[in-house]
Symmetry: C2
Subunit: 165 residues, 2 copies
């Protein structure tokens, strides 16, 4: 009934996809929660900061890279700030802007947490896919992402969206 306008193949793909997108985030959340008392979205925020020059980013830029709404990011950063993992600074260029900075303690948490997290990602995703499937996944996800966010407003500026040559 619900999927009356999807054909059989689409329906199978959609069901499997729904299962994956329902279960994978919880699995990653649980792993991070056990090892570091951390949510996946909090971890993403720390990870993005850890990769940025000066380990700091404007809130808006950080929101884009984490695919997060301004509000959600603000709350997340507030929680991380309370734990001493991140610090806020007023932007020097634009008095309206805030800059989130990863503290040393925050850096240590990323360093301690990354291995286990990457192992989980490997285990659940890349270990069960062939190299070809990894490439296919990138193409598929990029295509969907392009429709969800055509302007790239919610995406990082540089990479991640290169169509087949």
């Amino acid at each position: 009934m619900a999927n009356q306008w999807l054909d059989d193949g689409e329906q199978r793909a959609w069901r499997a996809f729904l299962g994956m997108t329902e279960l994978l985030p919880s699995a990653l959340d649980q792993q991070l929660q056990r090892e570091s008392e951390m949510t996946h979205s909090s971890y993403i925020v720390l990870a993005m900061l850890s990769e940025a020059p000066g380990r700091s980013l404007r809130m808006s830029e950080l929101a884009a890279r984490a695919h997060s709404s301004p509000s959600r990011l603000s709350h997340t950063v507030s929680r991380l700030e309370k734990r001493g993992l991140v610090r806020r600074e007023r932007s020097t260029e634009d008095g309206r802007g805030n800059v989130a900075v990863l503290t040393d303690a925050g850096w240590d948490v990323v360093v301690a947490t990354a291995p286990g997290h990457v192992a989980a990602v490997r285990r659940f995703v890349f270990d069960v896919l062939t190299p070809e499937q990894v490439h296919q996944l990138e193409q598929i996800a990029s295509a969907v992402l392009g429709e969800l966010d055509p302007d790239g407003t919610l995406r990082p500026p540089s990479p991640a969206a290169n169509p087949e040559p």
Copy 2:
């Protein structure tokens, strides 16, 4: 830093995948919220019931089909019950079990909501993928799902997991 043990291709695939899994659920949620004041997970519950014989399912079976925890499903059904879309009945076979039944009002909501929802799914996913990519997506999602839930405890009993012949 965070993804130090993923190679370039894996990294690109993972970033795109994260973006998709972050943005797609919100997009579907928003569409359903606008049209029917309904969450995606609530919709799934109603849709699963609408497809079941007698428009009813045991709570545990419904949880498996919706990839939901018992607790989450119980809360969701309680909310739907308050809105008159679902009703609970004690199982006749097993006095511990409860059965969720889709009411006529619930059925009407599914009928009214499905077209717009399917259109959104089409727009964001299937319209931007080739038939080949749809097949690839099914293979990929099934493989990941198999690792996330090896016993199929959280999956429907019959379909959705047929590997390459």
